[in-house]
Amino acid sequence: MRTVSKLLGLVCVWLVAQPANALNIFACEPEWAALARALAPQADIYSATHVYQDPHYIEARPSLIARLRRADIAFCSGAALEEGWLPALQQRASNPAVREGAPGMFYAADVVSTIEKHQEALVGRGHVHAEGNPHLHLDPDRVQTIARHFSERLMQLDPEQAAQYRLTFQVWQKHWKQKRLQWKQQALALSGKSVVVQHSTFSYLLRWLKIKPVADLEPAPGVSPTLSHLDTLTQQLKAEKPMAIMHNWYQSDNSAHWLAKRVSVPVLALPSTVSEKDGISTLDQLFDHLIAELRSAQL
C-alpha cells in the first residue's frame, strides 16, 4: 500500500496548490451555463454540451470526468435527460460535492413540475420517461422559478457571497419579468397556430406561446422519422396546413424538408438552447430569437 500513501501525498500537494477562488460550476447543458453566468458572474462556468449535440446522447468523455472532478456545483436538467451519461461521470469523477443527493448536485426538474409524463414502457418508447419532458428551460415561467432556487443554492454553498447572489438575482428577475411581458405581447399573434415538431424539444415553449403541435416527425419519441410515418403525416397535413415544420439544430433536416415540399409549408431550423458563437448567449436572447423566428414563419 506504499503506492497508495504516495498517491495520497501527491493529491494533497495538488489540493493545497489549488487556489480557493471562484466557485466552479459544471452545467450539463448550455442553457444552465447561461443562467449560472447571469446569477453568478464571478464563477468559473463550464457547459458539458452545446447546441449541436443531442443532450440525451453524450459520452462520458475523459474531459467531462476531469471537469466534474473539479466542480463545486453541477447544474443539470434532471428528469432523466442526462441518465445515459451523468451517472457515469459522477461515478468516475469521485467528487462527493456533486454526488446524487448532495447540495452541490442541482437538478432543475427537482424544483418545478414537468409536463408530458408517460408511464414508462419497457421497450420501444424511445427516450420518454415517467419523469416527464426535461426540456424545461424553454418555459419563461419555469426558468424564473429555477433561477430563484439555484440562486438560493448558491447562497447556501457560498455563504460569504450570499448578499451578492441575492442582489444579482433580484436584478436578473426584474429584467426577466419585463422580457416576459414583452414575449407575451409578441406571442399574441402566434396564439392558436399549429406546427409540426420533431421530438418534444419545444413543448414547453409552444405551450407557453399557445401554439398547438399537431404532429411529430418522430413516429415514437426518440425514434428517427420513418418514410411510412412521413407518408401518413402528408395525408393528415394536406387537410389541415400547419404554420411551419420545426426541427432543432442538432437534428438532420432531411425529414422536415421532405415533408415541407409535399405539403408546402416553411421549415424552421431553431436552436434548442443558447449558443454563444451564433450570437445567442443568454436565455433572453434565446427567447427573443425563437419568438422572432416563429413570427417570421407566421407572416
Binding site: 497508495v4 493529491v11 449535440q53 472532478r69 457515469a88 469521485s94 420501444g124
Partner: protein, 381 residues
C-alpha cells in the same frame, strides 16, 4: 490482509439492501435495475474461446445498482451464458464503492471487473463486436473479474488523469491449483482529453501481477489440450486465461471523432491495445507471450454502424518438458450493426482466423441480437 473472506463478507450487506429496498422501491431514483439479453447464432467454432457455435445466449445479465445513504453505492451483476455445450451462471460483480471520500478517491470492495486495458472495465454488452479481441480471450479469459479490494484516484488536473491499484484473490485468473491469499494485484493509469469539439482521446497503461502457482496450472492445461474433446468444451465460456505469465503489461489508446461532437448521428472510433506477458515459465528459453489488436468502428447514421478489427496473439506453448514452440493466431473481424431503437442491437459479424501451432482455427458468421430493459446503462467512453 485476508482477502479470501471478502467474497463471503461483501454480498451480504448488498443482498440485504437489494432485497429490502431495491425490489420494494423499484421506482426509487437511487435504485437502478437493468437487464440485457444477448441471443446469438454462430456458424462455426473458432479458436481460443469466443462463443460456442449454434444458437445460444451470450453475456446475458441482470444488474442492480443502489446508493446506500451518501456513503456507498452497491452493484450486483449476475450473468448467464447458455449454449449447446454448457449452461453457465455467475456473479460478475458484487461490490460496494465509497462515494464520499475526499480528494477524488474511491475504494471498492467485493467482486468487480479489474481496471485493466481499455475494455476490461467495461460491460460486454456495450462492445462493438460479438467477441472480445484475441488478447482478452487468450490472456484474460475474456474479461478478468475477481474478489478483491481496489482504490482509485482522479487527480484534480485539467486533463483527465486517473490512477488505480487493486489486490485480488487471483481465483478467477485461471485454473491454478494454489496461490497466496493475494493472488494478483494490478496498477493502472489513464489520461484523456478533448482535442477539439469533434475529437477526443484516452490512453492508458496497466499492469497485472499474477502470483498464482503458474507451473501447476500449465501442466493441467497442457493435458487438456492433448484431449480434443476437452478442447471443444474449452472453446465455449472461458474459465480463465489460456496463456499466463507472472507479469502482464498493457498499453491502450482510443481516439473518437464525431462532427461537432454530436456522437448520436455520426462517430468514428479507433482503438488499439498491446499486451505483453512475461515470465511464463521458470524454464530458460520459454520466451514471452504478446499480442495486439486495432479496431475501427464507424457509425454513419444513428441506427447503423460498421466496424473492422484485426488482432494477433503470439504465445509460447510447452509441447514437451522444457521445449517451447510458437503458437500464433491472427483474426480479422468485420461487423455491421443496426439499432432499430436505442435499447436494441442486431449485429452481423464475420470472423476469419489463421493459426500456426494453435488448433481449431476457422471462419465463422455470427448473428447477434441484444436487447436491454430498465434503467439505461451509462454510455462510457
Amino acid at each position: 490482509m485476508k482477502l479470501k473472506s471478502l467474497p463471503l463478507l461483501f454480498p451480504f450487506p448488498l443482498m440485504a439492501t437489494l432485497g429490502v429496498s431495491g425490489l420494494v422501491e423499484a421506482a426509487d431514483e437511487q435504485t437502478r435495475i437493468s437487464a440485457t439479453v444477448d441471443a446469438y447464432y454462430k456458424s462455426d467454432n473458432t479458436a481460443l474461446g469466443g462463443r460456442e457455435d449454434g444458437l445460444g445466449l451470450g453475456h446475458t445479465e441482470l444488474s442492480v445498482q443502489h446508493q446506500i445513504a451518501d456513503l456507498f453505492s452497491a452493484r450486483l451483476t449476475a450473468i448467464a451464458e447458455v449454449n449447446d455445450v454448457e449452461n453457465n451462471g455467475d456473479i460478475e460483480e458484487a461490490y460496494l464503492e465509497t462515494l464520499s471520500l475526499p480528494a477524488g478517491l474511491s475504494v471498492r470492495g467485493g467482486r468487480f471487473l479489474a481496471d485493466l486495458g481499455y475494455l476490461n472495465g467495461q460491460h460486454s454488452h456495450a462492445d462493438n463486436f460479438v467477441e472480445r479481441p484475441l488478447v482478452y480471450r487468450g490472456f484474460l479469459g475474456n474479461h478478468y473479474f475477481d474478489d478483491g479490494l481496489g482504490v482509485r484516484a482522479v487527480l484534480p488536473t485539467n486533463i483527465y488523469w486517473q490512477l488505480s491499484a487493486a489486490a485480488f484473490t487471483g481465483d478467477h485468473l485461471g485454473n491454478f491449483e494454489s496461490g497466496p491469499s493475494v493472488g494478483a494485484w494490478t496498477l493502472a493509469t489513464k489520461v484523456g482529453d478533448d482535442i477539439d469539439e469533434s475529437q477526443s482521446w484516452q490512453a492508458g497503461l496497466s499492469y497485472l501481477r499474477n502470483r498464482m502457482d503458474l507451473h501447476a496450472g500449465h501442466e493441467e492445461e497442457h493435458e487438456e489440450e492433448e484431449d480434443h474433446e476437452h478442447e471443444e468444451e474449452h472453446a465455449g465460456h472461458s474459465h480463465g486465461a489460456a496463456f499466463s505469465g507472472e507479469h502482464m503489461y498493457i498499453a491502450d489508446a482510443v481516439w473518437k471523432w464525431s462532427p461537432s461532437g454530436n456522437n448520436k448521428s455520426q462517430q468514428l472510433s479507433v482503438s488499439a491495445e498491446y499486451f505483453k506477458v512475461t515470465d511464463i515459465s521458470p524454464e530458460a528459453g520459454a520466451g514471452d507471450h504478446d499480442g495486439w489488436y486495432t479496431a475501427a468502428v464507424y457509425r454513419f447514421a444513428p441506427e447503423w454502424s460498421v466496424g473492422v478489427r484485426y488482432g494477433e496473439l503470439n504465445a509460447r506453448q510447452e509441447h514437451e518438458e522444457g521445449v517451447f514452440e510458437n503458437a500464433d493466431l491472427r483474426e480479422t473481424t468485420l461487423m455491421a450493426a443496426w439499432n432499430p431503437t436505442h435499447t436494441q442491437t442486431v449485429r452481423l459479424q464475420y470472423t476469419h482466423q489463421d493459426a500456426e501451432g494453435i488448433e481449431g482455427e476457422d471462419n465463422a458468421v455470427t448473428l447477434q441480437y441484444l436487447i436491454s430493459f430498465g434503467a439505461h446503462d451509462a454510455h462510457s467512453f
